[in-house]
């Protein structure tokens, strides 16, 4: 089982090789190293997948030990983590290959690949860590790489601010998670999964699970910590695909799924997870409808889809959630890489209003992108259909209201995705002459990953075909050893087969109606969205993302700086230092006063002496 331990070490090796020789290596060699380690890591993961038993635990060394606290450095590979490992290394490899073409002209290409490798290393630590602290190492590490890659083009201070925002918002979540981990240590006496997840303890489970969920809110961009993710689109597009769509942002989902026994022990936290997820799914989907930046639409779509997955987790449908993580990784990576291909072809243009009619020029991007759009919209037999159906079925079994709201979010998704699709590929050619003169289909290193992901976006759904459609729930069986404990029975999360098929038909019909509406609006009538500031009412509110950034600025950032200035100028300089200096001055002035009594005049001394003797005598003789 050595293969398993080298999976995360390979990208680390790649990072070290490239980063330590960043100026010495040619672009080709650096790219080959970075992609090569990813390929080998993926193969090692595949070997592990086919040869592993129920789970493997590997301890490398004792990392931190103090008093009763011990954290070893090691890995746990079980069905849950291997699914993530396969997605990370597999999709990660494709995106590395894609980056060869995408970053070819960038002077920082080697640095870019070293960061990507480092990211994969930390991401693998996150999903393979055998205890909470190793997971936390990965958790913070991916945040660092996200920071480095969002601010990759560091001459632009706006990008740097977006990078800072991402890191800081994640750190807010991380504090919650850290305190949660410490509480786990206090109440369970250990931070090893093997000790914690199988024991029952009188721990304040609701507090612990909630604190961990705060971490998930940060990393997986849920309300109220979601605003960093759309800004994170400042990074190069492969980064958006890998980190901010397919892998890192699913860390929160992994963490909740990993701790499902704890979460199931706290119905309250489960409710919170579900509600936060649902609210985020709807909020982000409505914002996405009114965005004109192709990457922003996809970013809000990611936030919304993550919300939907949290709904599944909150309902106890863990397999459905993980299933959607996998299919989402396929089609969202595809969509981002497709968007990157468009941006690349148009020389950096990201505004949907300046695209249009691109299907003629970018045929491969067009077809593959269509696959992605169909998959995310949930059209059978594309991957998103199966995984989304699982979630909606679980919602229906739980409550019709939640189901209706989740369906609403899905329909919005279909709408804004087809809006994007039609605006980019159909209608008039709105790009400038300069861009159109250079337009070209992307090179093979870009189109091949697109094709592979497009195929996965069709076939991915068959990993877990619902029972209602005669499927055998392959993934559910695979994950059974992980989720069996406390796993809700089949009946509780699934409606009966006939009902489920009926629901599928209703949803698909509604989706088709929405798509038709989008077609009428953006193709038939060739509507082009207005400038955000020219819109009115609801559209304007949505275009400005409900003014949440402005709100945060007003209630958090400004007051913080105000308090800071107040502390520094008033409390610090006038108050504390004033007292200190005052004491010093007091001594100086006091001694100046005392100097009057020793002015060297003998007569004065004699006078004081006589008076003193009289006083002392009179006091004593009284």
């Amino acid at each position: 089982m050595v293969a398993a331990a080298i999976i995360p070490l390979l990208p680390l090796l790649g990072f070290l090789l490239v980063s330590l020789n960043v100026n010495r290596l040619s672009k080709t060699v650096a790219a080959t190293i970075a992609c090569g380690v990813m390929l080998v890591a993926f193969l090692a993961a595949a070997v592990t997948f086919f040869t592993m038993g129920e789970s493997i635990e590997i301890s490398l060394f004792t990392w931190i030990k103090a008093g009763t606290f011990t954290s070893s450095f090691g890995f746990l590979i079980d069905p849950l983590s291997i699914i993530f490992v396969l997605v990370i290394t597999g999709v990660g490899f494709l995106i590395h290959v894609y980056s060869i073409g995408y970053m070819h002209d960038d002077e920082g290409q080697n640095r870019f690949f070293s960061y990507l490798n480092l990211f994969v290393f930390f991401m693998l630590l996150l999903v393979m860590g055998k205890n909470y602290l190793i997971v936390f190492v990965g958790w913070e590490g991916v945040g660092l790489c996200s920071y480095l890659l969002i601010g990759f083009w560091f001459k632009n201070q706006e990008y740097n601010s977006a990078a800072n925002k991402a890191f800081i918002m994640n750190r807010i979540g991380d504090l919650g998670m850290l305190v949660g981990i410490i509480l786990i240590f206090i109440y369970f006496g250990s931070i090893e999964y093997s000790d914690v997840l199988n024991s029952s303890s009188a721990a304040p489970i609701t507090l612990i699970t909630f604190l961990l969920f705060i971490g998930a809110m940060g990393k997986s961009a849920q309300i109220p910590l979601y605003t960093w993710l759309p800004d994170a689109m400042a990074g190069p597009t492969p980064v958006s695909a890998l980190i901010h769509a397919a892998t890192m942002v699913t860390a929160g989902i992994y963490m909740v799924a990993r701790n499902h026994t704890l979460y199931l022990a706290s119905p309250l936290t489960m409710e919170i997870v579900m509600i936060v997820g649902l609210a985020t799914a709807i909020l982000a989907a409505t914002i996405a409808v009114a965005q004109n930046d192709i990457k922003k639409v996809l970013a809000y779509s990611t936030v919304s889809q993550l919300g939907l997955i949290f709904v599944a987790l909150g309902l106890g449908a863990f397999t459905a959630g993980i299933f959607h993580v996998v299919t989402h990784a396929f089609f969202k990576a595809l969509l981002f890489l497709g968007a990157g291909s468009i941006i690349h072809a148009l020389g950096g243009e990201q505004d949907l209003r300046k695209m249009g009619g691109l299907r003629k020029y970018l045929p491969i991007t067009f077809i593959t992108f269509l696959f992605g759009v169909l998959a995310i919209s949930g059209i059978p037999p594309f991957a998103g259909f199966f995984s989304k159906d699982e979630i909606l079925a679980a919602a229906f079994a739980h409550s019709k209201v939640i189901w209706a709201l989740a369906v609403f979010a899905s329909l919005l998704t279909s709408f804004y995705m087809f809006r994007l699709f039609f605006l980019a590929f159909f209608g008039n050619e709105r790009a400038g002459e300069h861009a159109m003169s250079h337009i070209h289909e992307s090179p093979k290193s870009i189109t091949i990953p697109l094709t592979v992901l497009a195929i996965l976006s069709v076939t991915g759904g068959f990993l877990n075909v619902p029972g209602a459609l005669g499927g055998n729930h392959m993934m559910e069986r695979f994950l059974e050893p992980v989720f069996s404990r406390g796993w809700l029975t089949e009946g509780a999360t699934h409606a009966n087969a006939n009902e489920e098929i009926l629901l599928m038909i209703i949803i698909v019909a509604l989706t088709l109606a929405v798509i038709t509406f989008a077609w009428l609006t953006y193709v038939k009538k060739s509507t082009v969205p207005d400038e955000p500031d020219q819109t009115t009412g609801l559209t304007r509110l949505l275009a400005h993302k409900y003014y949440v950034d402005e709100l945060y600025n007003f209630i958090v950032v400004k007051p913080l700086y105000l308090i800071s200035k107040l502390f520094y100028n008033v409390v610090e300089l006038l108050g504390i230092d004033g007292i200190v200096n005052g004491l010093g001055k007091g001594v100086v002035y006091g001694s100046r006063g005392l100097r009057f009594f020793q002015d060297g005049s003998i007569g004065y001394y004699l006078f004081v002496m006589v008076i003193s003797i009289i006083v002392i005598l009179s006091v004593t003789l009284w």
Binding site: V22, F61, T62, W63, I64, K65, A66, G67, T68, F69, L133, F136, V137, E140, G141, L144, Y147, G151, F154, K155, N156, Q157, N160, S161, A163, N164, F167, I168, R171, I172, D174, L175, L178, V179, I182, L183, F185, I186, L560, Y561, I563, S564, K565, F567, Y568, V571, E572, I576, D577, V580, N581, G584
Partner: protein, 493 residues
């Protein structure tokens, strides 16, 4: 004898430098510091990880007062001695492209300072400790005064008087313990006798002694609200002076709390420890918030240092193994990180002519190696896992959450606020378009690499594998905490 060598050798080098007027004082002092480093590493390699004092030397000195020349290394001393012997050669090296007036005196004083610091960390007699404590003040005072960048010396005088006042209060406390010996107890200043004397005091007396000593330590660290001498001193001192102050000297205060305060007056700590802990936690948030609006990089790092030290101090006052072990490793890490940051600022100041944010920006475009070093040191400062900063910060926050969940959570704000001020500072100084000041910023020279790379490597190495350092102090700290809990359980009726 090895410990005696560690104390005496730098002092001898000081005399050599000042007396002989050697023609190459930089080289001579560097050689001395490297020998000292080698000897301390030898001690580390031969150190047995047990609680007992090793390489000890103990001789009667002034027998009438029960005063002894007792020095040695135990698990609490050794990490700080190693920190001192690691940083001093780097501090000397970092000055080698500077041309100070009277270089013999300058480098001599740095080594005299080293001697005093090692004396503080290895003394097992409280009066000897006090003598080294005061001795350390003289070279740093002269370094700040003679080579500092202020004209009138007001800031240096303030620093001197402030810390001296604290020390004198400690001396009063020490004498008080000595004089109030209960009948039947031996009077003496060696550690065992002295601790017995302190523990025999009644709780009210212990409370007085607690404050007498805590104030001295609190000023040295410094803990809120005794910190106002520090930012201005850090800014006006020559960089090497600031490195000595922040990298090593402030650890005297934390060390004093662990070695002398907590075991001396357990009842006093039981009564007042919470106050000290809460002050420390207030300092974390207060200094972090203030760091946000600083315009000068040195001021920013000065306030961040107050915040980090506040966390260490708070962890120590939990009196738990996790808290004190966290403090031990974090003292080492903080020394590395703060040294690195001040050196980074020094490089910026000498190459760009300013360390104020308004003059900076765009350095990243022209100096990639410098940027990488800065980023890694910054990550150590914000306690990213797999850097040295995380190990200590995690253990310290852990101990505080165990102490009281909300205090732990408030102290934990440092991981958010620390990221805010450091990242914003990095962005303002390093990113964006180059400014007139920074356009011709040259990347790291060989000399600068030879100072920064060891720091960067140590930050990562300790973050990945802290065991060699932590196992040194574990038995001593465990013994200390156990002796305290035995004591409190015996006090209970």
């Amino acid at each position: 004898m090895l410990t005696v060598f560690l104390i005496v050798f730098p002092m001898f080098m000081f005399l050599l430098l000042v007396g002989m007027k050697h023609s190459r004082p930089k080289l001579l002092s560097l050689v001395g510091a490297v020998i000292e480093f080698g000897v301390s590493v030898y001690a580390w390699l031969n150190f047995q990880t047990i609680a007992d004092r090793q390489f000890a030397f103990d001789a009667s000195w002034i027998s009438g007062l029960g005063m002894r020349l007792a020095v040695g290394l135990d698990g609490i001393s050794l990490p700080l001695v190693l920190l001192t012997t690691t940083l001093v050669p780097l501090i000397i090296l970092s000055a080698s492209d500077k041309n100070f007036n009277r270089p013999s005196l300058f480098y001599g004083l740095v080594l005299l300072m080293q001697s005093a610091l090692i004396g503080v960390f290895t003394s097992f007699d409280v009066l000897l400790f006090y003598i080294f404590w005061e001795l350390a003040l003289i070279p740093i005072y002269l370094i700040c005064l003679i080579w500092g960048n202020e004209k009138e010396g007001k800031i240096t005088i303030k620093f001197f008087i402030y810390t001296l006042a604290g020390s004198l209060v400690m001396l009063v406390g020490i004498i008080y313990v000595f004089m109030s010996a209960r009948p039947g107890l031996n009077q003496g200043f060696d550690m065992e006798t002295f601790l017995t004397l302190g523990r025999s005091l009644n709780p009210r007396e212990q409370g007085l002694v607690f404050w007498a000593m805590f104030i001295a330590f609190a000023i040295k660290m410094p803990v809120f609200p005794f910190h106002t001498w520090q930012p201005s001193t850090y800014t006006s001192a020559p960089t090497q002076g600031t490195m000595l102050l922040s990298g090593i000297m402030l650890k005297m205060g934390i060390y004093g709390v662990i070695r002398w305060l907590i075991p001396l007056v357990p009842a006093g700590v039981a009564e007042w420890g919470t106050v000290a802990l809460v002050l420390s936690v207030i300092g974390i948030v207060y200094a972090s918030v203030i760091a946000l609006v600083q315009n000068h990089m040195k001021m920013l790092v000065a306030y961040s240092s107050i915040a980090h030290v506040g966390l260490i101090s708070a962890g120590v006052f939990t009196q738990s193994v996790i808290g004190i072990q966290g403090a031990m490793i974090q003292m080492f890490s903080h020394g590395l990180v703060v040294f690195g940051l001040f050196y980074i600022i020094d490089i910026i100041q000498s190459k760009a002519g300013s360390a104020e944010f308004k003059d900076l920006g765009g350095i990243r475009n022209v100096a990639p190696k410098f940027t990488t070093a800065f980023v890694i040191i910054m990550l150590g400062s914000v306690a990213l896992p797999l850097t040295s900063g995380f190990v200590g910060e995690f253990l310290l926050i852990n101990s505080l959450v165990q102490y009281q969940v909300w205090i732990g959570a408030i102290a934990g704000l440092t991981i958010i606020l620390g990221a805010v001020y450091m990242l914003v500072a990095f962005q303002r100084a390093m990113s964006g378009e180059a400014q007139p000041f920074t356009a011709h910023f040259s990347d790291l020279s060989t000399l600068e690499k030879s100072v920064l790379y060891p720091i960067v490597i140590l930050i990562v190495l300790i973050g990945v594998y802290p065991a060699p350092l932590m196992s040194v102090s574990e038995p001593t700290v465990t013994a200390l905490v156990n002796s305290l809990s035995d004591l409190t359980s015996s006090l209970r009726p």
